[in-house]
């Protein structure tokens, strides 16, 4: 029998019916239509399904849907605020830190979790934090540079994004 669960998804309340055997990844992709979170392995080895559950970085394929009842789930779809990209997203684009792009959502979610945890990581710390996210195209070079640059920008202007958003809202109004 399906479970009726309520979650906060990217800040919004959501209700959904889930099979006991469905993973959070399946729930996001198949029940809620959010396909930005990817399945690369289904065994927690590739990180393409990285999402945040109650501010903890997890593999969506290793969490069962019913487990997230009452919790807050954040996915790649919640990372930009309207038209304003997160600095990580912007730096990934500027550094060409993606080729095929299948691993990109997972890297962005994982990197955001890193910077929340450690705003000033060394290159080695970035490499080890992101060691659970596989990329087969880039050799990681440009990804690491993008994360380091985004971190530097966020340290210099931690409120820049909020200000930019305010400006855009005013301009829109």
């Amino acid at each position: 029998m399906k479970h009726h669960i309520q979650i906060s998804l990217n800040g919004d309340p959501v209700e959904v019916l889930v099979e006991p055997s469905q993973t959070l990844l399946d729930v996001l992709r198949d029940e809620l239509g959010l396909t930005g979170t990817k399945e690369g392995c289904g065994t927690g080895d590739c990180g393409a399904c990285s999402v945040m559950v109650d501010n903890r970085l997890v593999c969506g394929c290793l969490v069962l849907g019913p487990e997230v009842a009452g919790k807050s789930v954040e996915t790649i779809e919640g990372m930009a605020e309207g038209e304003v990209l997160h600095p990580l997203q912007r730096h990934f684009l500027e550094h060409a830190a993606l080729q095929c792009g299948i691993c990109t959502p997972g890297f962005l979610v994982a990197a955001k979790a890193l910077l929340a945890h450690n705003p000033d990581p060394t290159e080695t710390e970035v490499r080890y934090w992101l060691a659970g996210n596989l990329c087969r195209c880039t050799g990681y070079d440009k990804i690491i540079r993008a994360v380091m640059d985004a971190a530097a920008e966020m340290r210099q202007a931690p409120n820049a994004r909020a200000e930019l958003k305010d400006q855009l809202q005013h301009a829109g109004a």
């Binding site: 099979e19 055997s21 992709r29 239509g33 959010l34 396909t35 930005g36 979170t37 990817k38 399945e39 690369g40 392995c41 289904g42 065994t43 080895d45 590739c46 393409a48 996915t75 790649i76 779809e77 990372m79 930009a80 990209l85 997203q89 990934f92 684009l93 500027e94 550094h95 060409a96 993606l98 080729q99 095929c100 792009g101 299948i102 691993c103 990109t104 959502p105 962005l108 290159e123 080695t124 970035v126 490499r127 080890y128 992101l130 060691a131 659970g132 996210n133 596989l134 990329c135 087969r136 195209c137 880039t138 050799g139 990681y140 070079d141 440009k142 990804i143 690491i144 540079r145």
Partner: protein
């Protein structure tokens, strides 16, 4: 660190080409909007699932699907009975050939299963759970046969035969008995046998490599929808949707025009998405059930049933004079094809000595079948294997003579005019430039620490052109829509827009590119052979030139002057020459706005068979550090130097260099298919088949060398494949430098390195350096 070197030195003559713009598909890829193969869904779709063989080799006695068919929610089942047999016919698939007689057996086993994971039946059901349950209700009776996995075992006279009728081709006289050797290939130049007499030093070694998987992060996935009148639509992650269409039409016996294929965004391919696995099954299931059918491979299926590249046994013998000239070279290559013939041993044999200007060469290759999944193309298919062995021997020769390995390569390097052993004479090529750049690099001159070593190796790949269509539509506001048909895996759309912007004098953001479906654009061969930027770029330039010509014609009409009196320059048509009138220049957007009144839509349609692809040579440098306690080799510094012809978008050229090097480092140090004695794959997952992760690698420096290809309007050479050719030898040569030991077996994983160090120590080997 990223550098660029031009020969001749490149003046900054372009506004857009060579700049680092954000890719047009970028935003969608950082926000999760981009739709990959598994991201498409249709209302009422069924889930397709495949029953796969648990045995490496068995005869199928019977398949009983009656119980599965009776399960509620099961809407269709297909087996071998749903596919007609095919005649033996080889057709191109990327740089490899496929034979439809084999393809139909690979997508669905017929007489026998030939490897663990071989598809035996497929079902479509109303939910994934029901589909899985249905697979368990299919009863297959097998007669288990003895299996053979290793390439050297498979060529033994008493080896179990995979195909009773396989007579080795390329051998005179033809053998009278079948074997697992599908064919023999041979490329010779001069008389290598006699030329060894002139050598002062001869080095001969045997090498072994293991199959490695392309390791794209996105598993194969597709969604098929067949209507009652037989019109079919397919969404699929593929490197070539026209190729998928052709294969599916052939295997299903449908008209090509009935199948429309949409290429989704593709999550990596590296050659592995140039063939079909699920697509014909999904179409057959959709036709049978009358409903859309979605199929996605698990990671385990990807490893077990989709193609890795060959493992191989390679012998190399090379001789040189004391002053450093290579006088003779021979290689013998045994490549695993997997269950069906068609390993890349041909290109492997052709590549083997391609970086060198040699008079006496002999390359002999054997294509060998065994009970493993059929190999598929993997980035420069065949080249990395043979060149690993040759470049290791080149390193040994340089050591024996006492010459710097770069100087030794420079002394023998292929250059313009060199006749390659496989036939052609090279045009302008950049190998010497890459070697000189390597020699002058900071990396080559930097000091090494304890237990560290440095290696260098070069590599080559042919590159191809082929059938290509591009359409450019000039919209009524002067913006452009670009339709290409080669799936974009790593920035192609950006590169095409840069070339179109350059050609038309229009701003890059004003061009919106799409990868068009098979019904909307002329035929396109696939993205592979490093052909996409080369061929679709050539077609884009031609389509842009048509628009320029048409814009001039429309202006001439408006101004009532002869066409030759109008010139297109920097986005404007302007009067020119003696006939020039007094009119002001008009921007292309004005021509576009008035197109309806001056003759209708303005479109550039290029349909070409792109010729003039030019090879890309590269040289790479690696530093490794050996942990003598564990045997782990860690790459501490890496530089890729390669001739790009011209880098249209340098970021994505560097990305190809870095990504190819990283895959090659994985191949060198860690990746391998591991089989048990039972013939079953023991590591079908990313946990045990460990590809390099971020903490395994250093930054990867690049030096882009530009020796323009004279046959391309912007000088492009394909650059995607060459980067994976040198890494295995580069790393092996660095490990040799660090340890004093020559490793002839890949991967150089910690247990192998530790064992070799311990054995050398126990034997009192004076070469041992760690």
């Amino acid at each position: 660190m990223q550098e660029k070197i031009g020969n001749p030195p490149v003046e900054q003559e372009f506004k857009w080409v060579g700049t680092r713009q954000v890719r047009p598909d970028g935003i969608d890829k950082v926000t999760g909007r981009a739709k990959f193969g598994a991201d498409y869904n249709l209302p009422g779709q069924l889930t397709g699932a495949v029953l796969r063989s648990p045995h490496p080799h068995a005869r199928i006695v019977s398949i009983d699907t009656s119980q599965a068919a009776a399960l509620q929610g099961v809407k269709a089942i297909v087996t071998r009975d749903d596919f007609n047999d095919q005649d033996s016919e080889f057709v191109p698939a990327g740089e490899m050939l496929v034979n439809y007689r084999d393809v139909v057996r690979n997508v669905m086993a017929r007489e026998k299963v030939l490897y663990e994971g071989h598809a035996v039946a497929a079902v479509a059901a109303t939910s994934p759970i029901i589909a899985k349950r249905a697979l368990k209700l299919i009863n297959v009776e097998y007669e288990i046969l003895p299996h053979v996995i290793d390439v050297l075992d498979a060529i033994k006279p008493d080896a179990p035969l995979l195909h009773d009728d396989m007579i080795t081709t390329g051998v005179e006289p033809a053998p009278t008995t079948p074997s697992n050797i599908a064919k023999k290939v041979e490329f010779t130049l001069g008389d290598s046998g006699a030329a060894f007499a002139k050598a002062d030093v001869v080095v001969e070694r045997a090498f072994d490599t293991k199959p490695v998987h392309q390791g794209y992060i996105e598993p194969h996935a597709c969604l098929a929808d067949v209507s009652e009148d037989g019109a079919a639509e397919l969404w699929v992650c593929t490197q070539g949707h026209w190729i998928v269409r052709a294969h599916c039409a052939r295997l299903l016996g449908w008209d090509v025009s009935k199948i429309k294929v949409n290429a989704s965004e593709i999550g990596g391919g590296f050659g592995g998405k140039t063939v079909v696995y699920l697509e014909p099954l999904a179409l057959a299931l959709s036709k049978k059930s009358g409903k859309p059918v979605k199929m996605v491979m698990s990671r385990e299926d990807v490893f077990k049933a989709s193609g890795p590249t060959s493992g191989a046994h390679i012998r190399v013998k090379m001789g040189a004079t004391k002053d450093g000239r290579i006088v003779a070279a021979e290689t013998e290559l045994f490549y695993q094809a997997g269950a069906f013939q068609g390993s890349p041993v041909g290109p492997g044999a052709m590549c083997a000595f391609a970086p060198y200007d040699l008079e006496h060469v002999k390359s002999v290759g054997y294509d060998v079948v065994s009970n493993r999944s059929k190999v598929a193309a993997y980035r420069a298919p065949g080249g990395p294997i043979s060149e690993y062995a040759v470049e290791s021997v080149v390193d040994e020769l340089a050591r024996e003579i006492g010459m710097d390995p770069i100087d030794f390569r420079l002394k023998n390097a292929a250059k313009e005019g060199t006749k390659a052993a496989y036939g052609p004479q090279f045009g302008p090529i950049g190998l010497i430039e890459t070697l000189e750049a390597a020699k002058n690099s900071d990396h080559w001159k930097a000091p090494l620490g304890p237990n560290q070593g440095r290696g260098v190796a070069s590599g080559f790949w042919f590159n191809i052109g082929g059938e290509t269509s591009v359409t450019l539509n000039l919209n009524e506001d002067g913006t452009l829509t670009l339709m290409a048909g080669t799936p974009d895996i790593g920035g192609l759309r950006a590169s095409l827009c840069l070339m179109a912007a350059e050609e038309l004098g229009i701003d890059y953001p004003k061009i919106r590119p799409i990868i068009a479906d098979t019904a909307s654009l002329g035929y396109n061969f696939l993205t592979g052979g490093s052909r996409a930027t080369f061929s679709s770029g050539m077609a884009t330039v031609e389509a842009a030139q048509q628009i320029k010509t048409e814009a001039c014609r429309r202006a001439a009409q408006l101004w009532d002057v002869p066409e030759e009196a109008v010139l297109y320059e920097d986005g404007y048509v302007r009067p020119a020459g003696d006939n020039a009138g007094p009119q002001d220049p008009m921007h292309i957007s004005e021509i576009a706005r008035m197109a309806g009144k001056t003759g209708g839509p303005i479109t550039g349609v290029a349909k070409i068979n792109a010729q003039g692809a030019a090879p890309s040579f590269g040289t790479q440098i690696a530093d490794v550090e050996i942990d003598p306690e564990t045997g782990r080799a860690t790459v501490t510094r890496y530089t890729v130097i390669q001739d790009a012809g011209r880098a249209i978008h340098p970021d994505y050229v560097e990305g190809q260099f870095q990504g190819g090097a990283a895959q090659g480092i994985g191949w060198a140090l860690n990746e391998e298919y591991i089989y048990g004695d039972d013939g079953k794959l023991e590591n079908p997952g990313f946990l045990d088949y460990r590809i390099p992760v971020a903490s395994d690698l250093p930054m990867i420096d690049t030096i882009i060398v530009e020796v323009p290809n004279p046959r391309h309007p912007y000088g492009v050479r394909g650059i995607g494949e060459t980067p994976i050719v040198p890494p295995m030898a580069t790393v092996a040569n660095a490990v040799r430098d660090a340890t004093g030991l020559r490793f002839t077996e890949l991967p150089m994983s910690p247990p192998r390195v530790l064992k070799a160090i311990n054995e050398a120590r126990a034997a009192g080997d004076t070469n041992l350096k760690v």
